[in-house]
Every structure is written in structure tokens, then in C-alpha cells.
Amino acid sequence: MARETKSGILKELRQLPRSYFIMAAFAAFGLALGLYRMVVGLGPTTNLSDSYPWGLWIIYDVFFIPFSAGAFMISAVTHIYDKEEYHVIARPVVLAGFLGYLFVVLVLLMDLGRWHRFYNVLIPWYWNPHSFMFEVSMCVTVYTGILIMEIAPTILERLNWEKPLRFLRIATVVIAGAGIVLSSLHQSSVGSLFLLMRHKLHALWWTPQLPLLFFTSAAFSGLSMAIFVAVVSFTAFGKRLKLDLLSDLAKIVFLMLGLYLALKVVDLAINGELGLVFSSGWLSFMFVAEVVVGVIAPMLIFGNRGMRESKSGLFQGSALVLLGLGLNRVNVALLGLRGPTGTAYFPHWIELVISLAAVVAGVLLFGLASRFLPIFQDVEDVEAERASSKGREKDIAWGHVPQA
């Protein structure tokens, strides 16, 4: 049996489309550059400086952390709101979230000047509980562990390891709950990182509400990522997808975007900073761009029933939310931070290639996992299976796969 599986995998590997090999080559190139960077240091491989201590890699992390929130949002929705259809998209979304986190950790490690001492964060008598960098590092570490447990059943099913599988199924509610608590903490603490920069971060973005704004934007970005990943991956793998569940999610995104917009406007108004939206030169432009692209435009799309229920509308709306998220995180982590006059930062090509390679590697691993693991299922299969086994395996981690 095991031998059969092995030769089957080899055979399937040989039959992979050429795009997989191109992606693998690019990812390997990125890995080589990453190793080079780790040997020679940040100076020769980045355009970071004392003027711009944080650059593209930090932006990568503050973008992909909320992007990966899709995992916790979906596991929250599936567990609290135990709807059959959600289980179909849960696996691909949690997989994407896990890969998102994995590369956040790797890029974070890449960004650490003294990466060889990363384990200092784990030494209890070094801990500084006042530091949100400490909180973020802790949460990323523990949450990656939780995602491994959420993803494990897929692999264990493939390997037919029943014992740990049974354990994980019993613990599933606790695991999902811990994941949701950790995510809430850590999405908001990414925003809290910038609380200290009251005099550096432009008033359009600095507010004591940063943790709340980051949490809210992570929630709707996570759901948008779920929609985006579901539409793109089900299309790419030629699987049939029921759109009505994604439309439900889009409706929630619409409401959350409205809440977020109201929070932003009211916050600026109370601080008497609404005028800054028009009077801050190109930063005004960046602020308006972020709000129009990432909040207002997707609200128009998701607020329209016809659009919300069409594949193209779902794709466009979720893509815009993610683009707007990117703009927001660039504004907060780079452009809105007061830099010295006369100098500018643009990433070194090695920074760009390593970031891009991390994304490509994520897509590649997602593709491979989808081919070799029971990630995608047809709606009918799931419904039939769940109907037949209802009660017996009610609490499968975040998906439900027919036992072949």
C-alpha cells in the first residue's frame, strides 16, 4: 500500500505542468539569495539604512499576517455557524493561511539582523511584556503551531494514521478556539506596534485606535482572502463551487467594511483631523487611494446583490479589499512614517526577489498540496458524506473528507 502511494506520487510529480517547475526554480533562486543575505548581512543585500530601518520585508509581514487571517475567520465561521457548505472551502483557506504564516515567519527571520539569535524571544527571562514586538513574535510562533494542528488531519488522512487523527478530532474545538483568541490578540498587536510612533507616524494613520483598526481590517481581509482563495483555486483546479456561501461571506465583508470606514472617519473627526484628508499633499492621495480602493469600491461591489452572487464580482471585490489592505500597510509601515528629508527608500532587487519568491513558493506549495492531499472536495460529496455520518464525526477540525 505504502509503496503504491510512493510510486503514485512520483508518477504524478513527473506529470506536473511546466509552470510548477518554473515556480520551483524561482523559489530556489529566492532561497539561494536568502542564504546569501543571511551570510553577508543586511547592508549589501537591502536598501535599508538608519534612515529607513524597516522596509519591504516588514511590509510583507504586516500584509500577510492579516491576509492569513482567512484561516481563523473561516475556522470561526465554520465552528460557530456550523453550516455544511463552509466546510468545503475551509480546507483550502486554512491551507492558504498556514502557508501565509509559514512565509511570514521565514521573511521575519530574513529581516532579523541577528537572526542567529532569534531564539532569544523564547527565553522567558528576556521577555518584555510591554513590547508589542514581543507579543507579535509570541503569537506568530504559537499560532503557526496551531495551524499545523489544524492542517494535520489532511496529511494524517493521507497517511491513514488513525490514532493522532482521532486525538486531533477530539481536541478540534479547543484548537480552533485557541487559534481564534491568539489571532484576535495578534492581529491587533500588529497595529499596536505603531502606537509608540505618535510623533513619527502621520496623523492620518496614527490613532490610539490602531489595534482596533488593524483587528477589523484583518477580519474583513481574512474573509476576502477566503473568498479570493476559494474562487481562484476552485477555478484553477476545475472544481465546482457553490457561490451562495461566498456571497454570504461577501455580505459580512460589506458590513465590516462599513464599520471600518465609520471607525476611520469618526476617529479622524473626533481628533479634529478630517482636514488632513485634503491638506497632506501626496499622503492625502495615498490615504484616499487606500480608502477608495480597499473600502469604498469593494463596498459598492459587495453591496450589490447581483455582483455579490457572481464569480467575477466576488473575485473583483475580494481582490480590491486585499489591494487596499496592501496600500494601508505600506502607508502605515513606510510612507506615513516620518523619514529624513531628502532621502527615499526603494527596495533593493534582492529584497524584491526574496519577497516575490516567498509568494511564489507559497503558491507552489498550495498547488502541490492540492494535488497530493485531500484539500478540494465536491459539494455533493461533502453533503452526502455529512448526511450519512452526522453525529459520528461532528467535530472534524475544519473540513470533512470522505474516507476513501
Binding site: 548581512g41 518584555n128 513590547s131 508589542f132 502606537l195
Partner: protein, 293 residues
């Protein structure tokens, strides 16, 4: 409602209902640490302080443009203190200014560092313990004065910053720069008495000085104090107000974090309980329905 009250109220919105009345761990009503007073009007720009700092800390000279020996333009990993010239273009006034770590009483870098590599000593010096550092550079981004610098060219770099000559303080000596200053522009002593001295100088020469001691209240107070004849902003010392930047962040970390964790966990538990009992009731109803049929 003033801004401060709003900050507190809205901080509560961010999940930290206990923010009002929160105190930072390091907040001190009475500060008995050491301080340094730099009187820009007495400085002659001889840079003896710069040279003394290099010698004391074993930092290499920076050679740059036109083969001038040691003429750094900015603080860097090998220049912890620097005399700059500031010119006010409208009036033609000018002034020297000594830049270095301000040794804040509520240091943002200490609050920011995840591994406690930046620490505040009893004397008030803000010091760096390199063996703890992971190189995340949050201290650089968090510092309102842009003081911590990084050894960008090294494979395994450290942060570099003025440590107030911690070792010398331990021996009862003033920092090397204060010790070597030939004009008395840099003086070192107890913070209270230096503030009194600075106020006396302003009172005796009100026409000469800007009527403000920079660092007395800035960001909750700093251990490096400035007197100047030109506006402080021209010296590169920004108007940052008197509220410590660390207060809000530390209060949210201390009260918001457990607050968020507990409320989310409670909410989830409640929802789970409600849904499972709801489902149970549904299942019971379905069962009795089946039995009837």
C-alpha cells in the same frame, strides 16, 4: 473633552477598558537620576567631546568626503555623539548643537525591545545589552529622536547608541564628553540641580536664551537637557509635547492584552455553549418528532 481624555476613552474602545488611571511600570513621580546639561550658547564646536567619546568607547573615526579626517555628518554606528551646526535662515542666527541619546525618563526603545536588550539603569542611563539583541530594529523605528543606529555592514550587527558612559558612572565619574568639554557647555550632575542651574541661567540672561529647558518635560522628561539661543526645532529637537509615548502602548499591552484574550475566550465559550445546547434541543425535538411518526 480634551485630546488626552479622548485617547483614554478610545483606548477603551480598542479593548482595554481598564486604561483610565493606568500607570506605566517605570513612571516615577520623583526622578533622582543623573543628567547632562548642554548649553549651546557656550559651545565653541571644538568637537573635543566627539573625540573623547570615540576614545572612551573605542569607536573608529569616520573618514569621508575630501579626505577630511573624522567629519561625520550624522550619528551612526561608529559615532555616538556629534556636534552639528544649525542655521536659522530667516535671521542669520546660528548655533552648535550636540546630538546624542536623550536618555528619556520613559524611553520608547526600552518599551519597544521584545527581548529587553535596551534597559534603563538606576542612574537613568539607557543602555544596550547586545547579547540579547535579535536585530529587529523596532528601537530605531520607535525612538522619537532617531538615536539608535545599526551596524548595517556587518553580518551579525549590533545596535549602537550612547550609554551615558555607564562604566564611568559606575566609578563615580561623569561621561567622557562632559569631562573633556573646555568651555563648560556640557555639565553633568543630579537632574534636579541641573534644571535649577539652567533656570538660573535663563533668568540671568533672558535676552540670550529661549525661555525653555528642552528635556525638562519633553516626553515626560529626558536626562539630557538643552539650553539654546535659537528655537529648538532648528537644532533638530522636535516639539514632542510632555506626554511619554510609552504610556498608551504599555497600558494597552498590560491591560488590553489579557482583556482581549479573556473577552474573546468568554465570547467564544458563550457562543459555543449556546449553539451546542441549541443544537441539542433541536436534535431532541427531531428525535421526538421521528418517534411520533
Amino acid at each position: 473633552m480634551n485630546r488626552r481624555d479622548f485617547l483614554k476613552l478610545s483606548g477603551a474602545g480598542a479593548g482595554s477598558l481598564f486604561l483610565g488611571g493606568a500607570q506605566t511600570a517605570r513612571a516615577r513621580e520623583v526622578w533622582d537620576g543623573k543628567a547632562m546639561l548642554y548649553d549651546a550658547t557656550l559651545c565653541i564646536g571644538c568637537r573635543a567631546c566627539q573625540a573623547a567619546c570615540r576614545r572612551e568607547q573605542g569607536l573608529p573615526a569616520e573618514t569621508g568626503e575630501a579626505d577630511l579626517h573624522d567629519k561625520p555628518r550624522e550619528l551612526s554606528a561608529s559615532t555616538r555623539t556629534l556636534i552639528k551646526v544649525a542655521e536659522v535662515q530667516q535671521t542669520g542666527e546660528w548655533s552648535f548643537v550636540k546630538r546624542q541619546c536623550m536618555h528619556c525618563l520613559h524611553p520608547a526603545c526600552v518599551s519597544a525591545c521584545p527581548v529587553g536588550a535596551l534597559q534603563q539603569t538606576e542612574d537613568g542611563a539607557v543602555v544596550y545589552r547586545g547579547e540579547r539583541c535579535i536585530g529587529c530594529r523596532y528601537c530605531q523605528v520607535a525612538c522619537p529622536f532617531g538615536i539608535p543606529k545599526f551596524e548595517w555592514d556587518k553580518s551579525f550587527p549590533y545596535i549602537e547608541k550612547c550609554d551615558f558612559c555607564e562604566d564611568r558612572l559606575g566609578e563615580g565619574l561623569p561621561p567622557a564628553c562632559a569631562d573633556v568639554c573646555p568651555t563648560g557647555a556640557i555639565t553633568f550632575g543630579d537632574r534636579d540641580s541641573l534644571i535649577a542651574e539652567a533656570r538660573k541661567r535663563i533668568e540671568e540672561n533672558p535676552d540670550k536664551y529661549v525661555d525653555h529647558i528642552y528635556g525638562e518635560h519633553e516626553l515626560g522628561g529626558t536626562s539630557v537637557l538643552y539650553l539654546s539661543s535659537v528655537p529648538f526645532e532648528k537644532l533638530g529637537l522636535p516639539d514632542v509635547g510632555s506626554e511619554p509615548v510609552t504610556e498608551l502602548s504599555e497600558a494597552i499591552a498590560t491591560y488590553g492584552t489579557p482583556g482581549v484574550a479573556l473577552s474573546v475566550a468568554g465570547l467564544l465559550g458563550g457562543l459555543y455553549y449556546w449553539f451546542s445546547s441549541h443544537e441539542h434541543a433541536e436534535a431532541e425535538a427531531a428525535k421526538s418528532h421521528e418517534e411520533e411518526a
